[in-house]
């Protein structure tokens, strides 16, 4: 199968990835090749098969709901590209 350039742009938008024109064209070709390769899975009849999202039982569990020490505000903000008044700073979300 061949992805169109428009589809590549749509995927990039969903993934929030800014791509150059050259990248879009390269990924159009490479993703099409990879999708051709994985298409062989369609030939298998899996109508009776359950989905394996977790391979080792028991399934994921939650710990007891007890308060534990986490990061301090200072630690949490230490790697922030921009912070102000104990908060992460971001550009305007609404115009």
């Amino acid at each position: 199968m061949t992805l169109t350039l428009k589809e590549v742009e749509h995927i990039a938008l969903l993934a929030r990835l800014e791509l150059t024109q050259e990248e879009k064209e390269r990924y159009q070709q490479q993703l099409s090749d990879i999708l051709d390769h994985v298409a062989q899975l369609q030939a298998l009849d899996t109508s009776q098969i359950k989905t394996a999202s977790v391979v080792q039982p028991p399934l994921a569990r939650l710990r007891e709901d007890e308060a534990l020490h986490g990061l301090t505000t200072e630690q949490a903000l230490k790697n922030a590209p921009s912070a102000e008044k104990d908060q992460f700073r971001v550009p305007p979300v609404l115009d």
Partner: protein, 490 residues
């Protein structure tokens, strides 16, 4: 005493415990060797010499204190090790081989790292890796390629290529790695060292920066099954911070039982000996299986019929999980921020600039596989075929105790050898992916060389939580052979 870097990990611990060497002497010896060889190998992204020296001094101090009090010693007190740069070490820059985390300094230790620090490990530095562990050659690192110590024109494999090359060149007695689709085993094979990918759930993933969460495992590389088992047993254990961690006690150490592998059944899957495999790889692996037979193991030909589907299944599931996991790199809380307008613009620009080509490719692939209209056909179908792959192993382990197979179709290839052909690179992983998809443990170790004197490895895969059987068998092999004792001339 021999030059310190030639000692095995076990011998090194003995020398520390006997007082023949201090941690400071040992750590300095490794730092000196790193300084000498690093320019030609480039195994580290970040070296931490000052930290290493201060940890070594503290370890020596602690040793003399404990000795005075007659107290028992932590298992690794004063042992220097290297850590793949996708596992966090508190206060040490962790990049994941990516520009997007160039300045990220984690405020916490990965649980596996914490266990080893509690036992007295000294940190030499953070080793090179394909960006976010996505790759099979370490060429996808944003910080330059690592060179294979056996032939510096060749790749070390990947993604734990820095760790494998560092161990092979004896820049560290052991190094931590991670394995999502073969990233411990394949570089172990290319560099001629021993490495474990534990059972999924055996070692905590907390602090292993996520790539494919249902596949990621933290492991270790060293020079022998014995050395690897020592570290593995200390890393393992249940962790409340990892919701897929499993509370299951370790079995008795396998290497202690290696003198007898009589009656253990070794399955040889016919699907792993296919056309296109380098003849010397097949020959060395078959010779190694013959050695196991001589020692009393029973060899059984088996079939893992869905092996050929592991590649397409993996290259849907892993990118799908990656596309979700890597959504966190948006320029808000940590990592690179590129800003020139609104918040959506900041997300796209930061990610476009911060991620390298392979990571972008997998995010795109995963986003597509999870997108509306394609989810069932791609991701859903892949998960179902994954069930079939796991069932293959379940059935095989009713008949055999371990499965023996090649690790990669070839020995180490030339740097740049796969050009810009992602599919050709993905095919390198064809024999390692099934263990990750099935969640079973895999142990890689050297079984000889090809005509270019590049190492060939073999893997043993086992029942879930029976790593000890793999160690037992590999140790028996290593008692009978000396491939694991060979070192590259540097």
């Amino acid at each position: 005493m021999d030059a310190l870097h030639t000692l095995s990990l076990k011998e090194t611990l003995q020398a520390l415990n006997d007082g023949q060497v201090s941690s400071l002497e040992l750590t300095r010896a490794y730092l000196d060797r790193i300084e000498k060889l690093e320019p030609q190998l480039h195994t580290f992204i970040t070296l931490t010499p000052e930290l290493a020296i201060s940890m070594a001094e503290a370890a020596d101090e602690k040793r003399s204190q404990l000795k005075k009090n007659g107290a028992s010693m932590p298992a690794l007190l004063g042992l220097p090790m290297a850590i793949k740069d996708v596992l966090t070490v508190n206060g040490v820059r962790t990049t994941c081989g990516s520009r997007i985390l160039e300045n990220f300094v984690p405020p916490f230790n990965a649980t596996a790292v914490q266990h080893l620090l509690d036992e007295g490990m000294v940190v030499l530095g953070k080793t090179n890796t394909d960006e976010f562990a996505m790759g099979s050659s370490t060429e996808n690192s944003a910080y330059g390629v690592t060179h294979n110590p056996w032939n510096t024109e060749c790749v070390p494999g990947g993604s734990s290529g820095g760790s494998a090359a560092a161990v092979a060149a004896r820049l560290a007695p052991a190094a931590l790695g991670t394995d999502t689709g073969g990233s411990v085993r394949q570089p172990a094979s290319f560099c001629g060292v021993t490495g474990i990918k534990p059972t999924y759930g055996r070692v905590s993933r907390y602090g292993l920066i996520a790539y494919g969460s249902s596949l990621d495992s933290a492991g270790v590389l060293a020079h022998s099954a014995e050395d690897v088992e020592i570290i593995f047993r200390l890393m393992a254990g249940f962790d409340q911070r990892d919701s897929t961690s499993i509370d299951r006690p370790l079995e008795d150490a396998g290497c202690a039982k290696a003198s007898d592998i009589k009656g253990l059944r070794v399955g040889v899957p016919r699907e792993y000996f296919i056309e296109g495999i380098q003849p010397e790889v097949e020959a060395r692996v078959r010779e190694a299986i013959a050695v196991l037979k001589e020692q009393g193991a029973e060899i059984v030909e088996i079939s893992l019929p869905h092996t050929e589907y592991a590649l397409p299944v993996y290259y849907l599931i892993a990118p799908a999980e990656a596309s979700a996991n890597l959504a966190r790199y948006d320029g808000v809380r940590f990592g690179l921020r590129e800003e020139n307008g609104g918040v959506i613009d900041m997300f796209s620009k930061s990610r476009g600039k911060g991620f390298g080509p392979e990571v972008k490719r997998r995010i795109m692939l995963g986003t597509y596989a999870l997108s509306a209209g394609y989810y069932d056909a791609y991701y859903g179908q892949a998960q179902k075929v994954r069930t079939l792959i796991k069932a293959d192993f379940d059935q095989a382990f009713e008949r055999v105790d371990v499965v023996a197979a090649p690790i990669a179709p070839t020995t180490a290839f030339k740097i740049g050898g796969h050009g810009d052909d992602p599919l050709a690179m993905y095919l390198e992983d064809v024999f390692t992916l099934p263990a990750n998809l099935a969640g079973v443990p895999g142990l890689a170790f050297p079984v000889g060389f090809d005509g270019q004197h590049l190492p060939v490895g073999m893997q043993l895969m086992g029942r879930p939580f029976q790593e000890s059987t793999l160690f037992r068998m590999a140790h028996a092999y290593q008692l009978a052979t000396d491939w694991h004792k060979q070192s590259p001339s540097l």
